[in-house]
Symmetry: C3
């Protein structure tokens, strides 16, 4: 399977807590990447492969900020330069292991695995609705799903599965989701919004807000494919005569390979921010939800893998945002391989 993800894009490589003094390794876009934290606190991302015999550097050890290979003891600076070979006096000049730009904004450590020169041109994505985190409390976990990252993006851009896969999450009396109010498309992102008319509270909504189950309120729901690497959903319970209760499901999707995706699942809330019980409840509930979603998507991936010839799905109206998202991702992929630009140029003549 040809990779269908762009390299020129910031991806979440790890959470802040995962990267410390230890040499941490994770496969991102097919590349084994080693991450560790310098004495200064900055994070280094380096290809996890000694230039000498392909042995993973993460199986070696640190010597201060340097890294020592666990096979023949070659030593590397944090910028990737080879600075010592134990079996000889001199080091050939210019030998280095590849390093990658890193941008940390807790709890995400973003990594740029594409064209090094392009990293600064595209800043890491901002999380919509989050406003640098003021007034929000977060929980986070990392999952590994054996499905292509676009299956995940598409899944969360079309919420009409909830009646089937998560019926207990639907507020009482709601029998179908209204059409999307709006699908907004920019060059690199797709968003939708939808308002569900007033109803009482689902059990989980009452639990986290502390309101009576009979409280009437509308729901505002917005979602965004911010980039191939980031999906954010905003869910607001808006009771009459009360403040709005906001939830954000922030998901970093980072392909390990074409068939596997790391999911960095953050749940943020702008209420009960000091109440760990509410945080734990949400984390557990959305963990279970994510695992059920993963089960569905892994099943679909296995079936797609068996297709000898690619087959065309039928799309429905609810897929409008998902189709746009897939098109944006594939344009980014094509652009990197040069075909897109060529196609445009030929069309212009």
């Amino acid at each position: 399977m040809r990779p269908n993800y762009p390299f020129n894009c910031w991806y979440v490589g790890a959470t802040t807590d995962e990267v410390g003094q230890e040499l941490f390794s994770r496969r991102l876009l097919g590349i084994h990447v080693m991450l560790y934290r310098l004495g200064s606190g900055d994070v280094v991302a380096m290809e996890d492969r000694c230039v000498h015999r392909a042995y993973p550097l993460s199986l070696g050890w640190r010597d201060g900020d340097r890294v020592v290979s666990g096979y023949h003891g070659l030593v590397y600076e944090p910028d990737g330069r080879l600075v010592h070979i134990p079996s000889q006096e001199n080091v050939p000049p210019g030998v280095r292991v590849r390093t990658y730009p890193v941008y940390e904004q807790a709890p995400f450590v973003w990594v740029w695995l594409g064209d090094p020169g392009a990293a600064t041109l595209r800043p890491p994505p901002r999380i919509p609705w989050y406003a640098e985190g003021q007034g929000w409390a977060d929980t986070i976990e990392v999952l590994r799903v054996e499905a292509n990252y676009l299956l995940l993006q598409e899944h969360y851009l079309d919420l009409t599965d909830v009646f089937v896969v998560h019926p207990e999450a639907v507020p009482p009396g709601v029998e179908r989701l209204p059409q999307l109010n709006e699908v907004e498309v920019s060059e690199r992102s797709v968003g939708y919004s939808r308002t569900v008319s007033s109803s009482g509270l689902a059990e989980w909504e009452a639990e986290i807000t502390g309101l009576a189950a009979t409280t009437a309120g509308t729901r505002r729901e917005e979602g965004m494919f911010v980039s191939p690497a980031l999906h954010v959903q905003h869910y607001a319970i808006e009771p009459e005569d009360d403040r709005a209760y906001g939830l954000l499901r922030i998901q970093g999707f980072t392909p390990e390979s074409p068939g596997v995706t790391h999911v960095f699942l953050r749940m943020a809330r702008n209420f009960a921010t000091d109440d760990d019980k509410v945080g734990d409840f949400l984390k557990t509930m959305f963990h279970d939800w994510a695992m059920r979603d993963a089960g569905v998507l892994e099943t679909i991936q296995r079936r797609l893998d068996e297709d000898i010839y690619p087959r065309r799905d039928i799309n429905v109206k609810a897929d409008r945002a998902a189709i746009r998202a897939r098109r944006i991702a594939m344009e980014m992929v094509d652009e990197e391989s040069g075909r897109f630009r060529l196609g445009k140029m030929l069309a212009a003549t």
Copy 2:
């Protein structure tokens, strides 16, 4: 491995007992097929794949005779028509999941996965010697063998392995099987027959007939490759001055994929038809026999899979029927892909 099985052929998809109210799924000729029984008792065979996102329909549920997908709740009629999409008011016309002709003759549910128009031209095969089952008692079981279906067909068309693989099955005093009396070939089938001269009874023969081990009798043995999907063997113990005791080993061979075969193993007898003890004895003995055969054929399949270049086997005289059977199957495959007809046409000019 290119599939070496024809699609324009009736295959056993399941046993009558396997198909009921539940949504049952099995992979046949590489296609995931869902089977279930309508309120009327008729069996439906439908591709096990929602047209929307490839999710298996068998993981959804029934709504009367209709099927509801477990992902986004799309609803299908038994004829495959998509009739409801929960997230929108209308359904695009003409969308359907593929369904397959079914013919049930207990305990076999036959399915036609080839060209739909051709199903009625070729009726499901009749089981030789069986005469609609009058006077016979049956047992049945389903096995899954990790070997190509032609290895199974060939194995059962050449019984000379019994001295090596199943020596306890050979009547006492018989030291070699006589040459085949006859190999009969029609356009689509191959049969052989052989008569073993009189001898006493093997232990299992005495057990099932209730005769003394010293009873002398000839054995008539006939086998037939009825189609790529069906193999039948007839074994008759014919004591002097007594009726003949007939056994049928009826085997449906249905490829799951080129390397795996579902075996529908029926044992029928025309004596002691009311005696369950005899039925259980035969079922157990032929189960063990089939498992031993499967072990041999799976070993061979693994070795063949390792060959980088295909290698030519040496054939012996006992392979005469097997060679004919393979040729018939391959002609059916070639015919479907158009090459056979082209070859004939070119030869005719």
Copy 3:
């Protein structure tokens, strides 16, 4: 992965103890080979595949020196000739299973899987330093390592990993290995030697020699890629005013397939030859050492297997012998496929 091992080369197929009355099977250079010992004591090597239906002959049984297939009972002479088919009177002339030249020199059974005519032109390799075993005691074991055989050859031709992977093995006070004194290259082999200046004894050296840890002595170390199939290392502890204590690590490397290697690990010593405790100590220590090395090489192999495009390693000075060895092996491979000779001829015009 295209095999990178030559066929025209003697490989260790088994140890003397592994081959007896039983039919023994091992995959060598991708070929399943059956080995057994005749009544005369000679060893037969035969392809482990009945000519009739690819069933492994090793799953059959012996009839004296002959072998009987466990499927249809075909019988073979030790020279591979098919001499009996139970289901018919005559045997087609000239049918045989392939056999391979064997040369046994305990504890190694060498097998030649290449061009049969060339076997006698290249005698099995002699083990350097060993002098037909006079004065040496041996232990042996067989390991299976999931790495290409050249990764093993290269590993043992560059001992500079010991400081990292086996620090407890280094004599006290030695902080780096001296440069190789010499790298000797013949047409088909590569050797190196190195002298480490006088130091006290490592713990294991004291244990096996019975000398005080403070005993000062130099170390002479020599290694040789004798052929793609054989690697020998000579390690001598040479205390002042005492005899030299010699150790040989003799390793037969036989590819099972491009990604897996059988290692026949012999440890020989020319002291304490009657002392089994010393033998057991060395066997255990070098077993642990080999397992640690195997772990490193298997990790590298897995990483190499993930590369879509082959990547070029950086070499260091200590790789000098390893690079020569790889070149010799690849020349032997090219020579067999005809490209090398062609390249030479073209260069000569």
